[in-house]
């Protein structure tokens, strides 16, 4: 979830370069970059500046505000955090303004807006490895999956964020070797397989890969909205 108090708000007089300077690094930390089609990027961002002037924020040019502030927040560009699994499956955001870091040619992704089918597995970028300090844990939400992402040395593991004891938030806990300790009552999970010392209380784990510095978690895709 994006912390709205920390979110950059743009004002009248904002330029294309202002948008690029803010959105580029933001997207990169989420595993995305601007489309390689630079004319298309300028066209989309120019539309966003028109929308900023008309509607007060840089809403997605391909989607419409419904008037529900909570819903409308989810289409403020870059909206990647709200659609991580869907976008990873189509390798771009709805518009194609942003494409996955690992896509070389963004031209072939332009045009189609397709919702990926539910039930397919997809590798979703969730963090840059360099943003995860060794022996630390952080929470990531991917669709309906609430995940604790733990780095142990140079390895990264993903497991359910919800402790099976009293539903404590494991991502606020502590990494101790290959174990993650719940901050509430100290229940201990092996990050490699989600097992715990307590019977029938293992947590779900997710496959993790690291490619070119991006950390991917494999999830099964849910409904788009």
């Amino acid at each position: 979830m994006v912390d709205s108090s920390a979110r950059r708000v743009f004002h009248a007089g904002t330029t294309l370069d202002d948008l690029k300077a803010y959105m580029g690094p933001f997207a990169e930390r989420l595993g995305y970059k601007f489309n390689t089609e630079t004319d298309f990027v300028d066209e989309v961002l120019t539309s966003e500046l028109e929308i900023l002037e008309r509607d007060g924020d840089v809403y997605c040019p391909c989607r419409i505000r419904t008037g529900d502030p909570k819903e409308d927040l989810k289409i403020v560009c870059p909206c990647i955090p709200f659609y991580r699994d869907q976008f990873a499956a189509i390798r771009k955001c709805w518009c194609g303004l942003f494409i996955l870091n690992e896509v070389d040619d963004g031209a072939e992704l332009l045009g189609v807006i397709e919702e990926p089918g539910a039930g397919t597995a997809v590798d979703v970028p969730v963090a840059r490895l360099e943003d995860l300090p060794p022996d630390s844990v952080r929470r990531v939400k991917v669709g309906k999956n609430d995940i604790a992402l733990a780095r142990v040395g140079d390895e990264v593991f993903a497991l359910s964020n919800i402790c099976r004891h009293a539903f404590g938030p494991l991502a606020e806990g502590f990494v101790d070797g290959y174990h993650l300790l719940c901050p509430w009552h100290g229940w201990r999970y092996d990050v490699r397989d989600g097992t715990t010392d307590h019977p029938n209380a293992d947590v779900k784990t997710y496959p993790v890969t690291v490619r070119e510095g991006d950390v991917f978690v494999s999830v099964t895709i849910g409904r788009a909205r």
Partner: protein
Amino acid sequence: MDIRLYALTTCPYCRMTKRYLDDHSISYEIVEVDLLEGEERQHTIDEVKQVSGGTSFPVLVADGEVVVGFNKSRIADILGL
């Protein structure tokens, strides 16, 4: 064939779709949803959700088929271009 295009004035794929239809001299009804106000806007958004399952644009409805985005090959198939 009745063809209706739900579009936003700000959306690049909507512009591409319009250009494509115009280039092929296709006649169609266009609804620019972001220019609508009040009840008409809400009613149209509901309509778009119903036919496409979402609120992404453009949405082309032709011959009972629905195309979201500028999917040139699907549009060509449906319109026999």
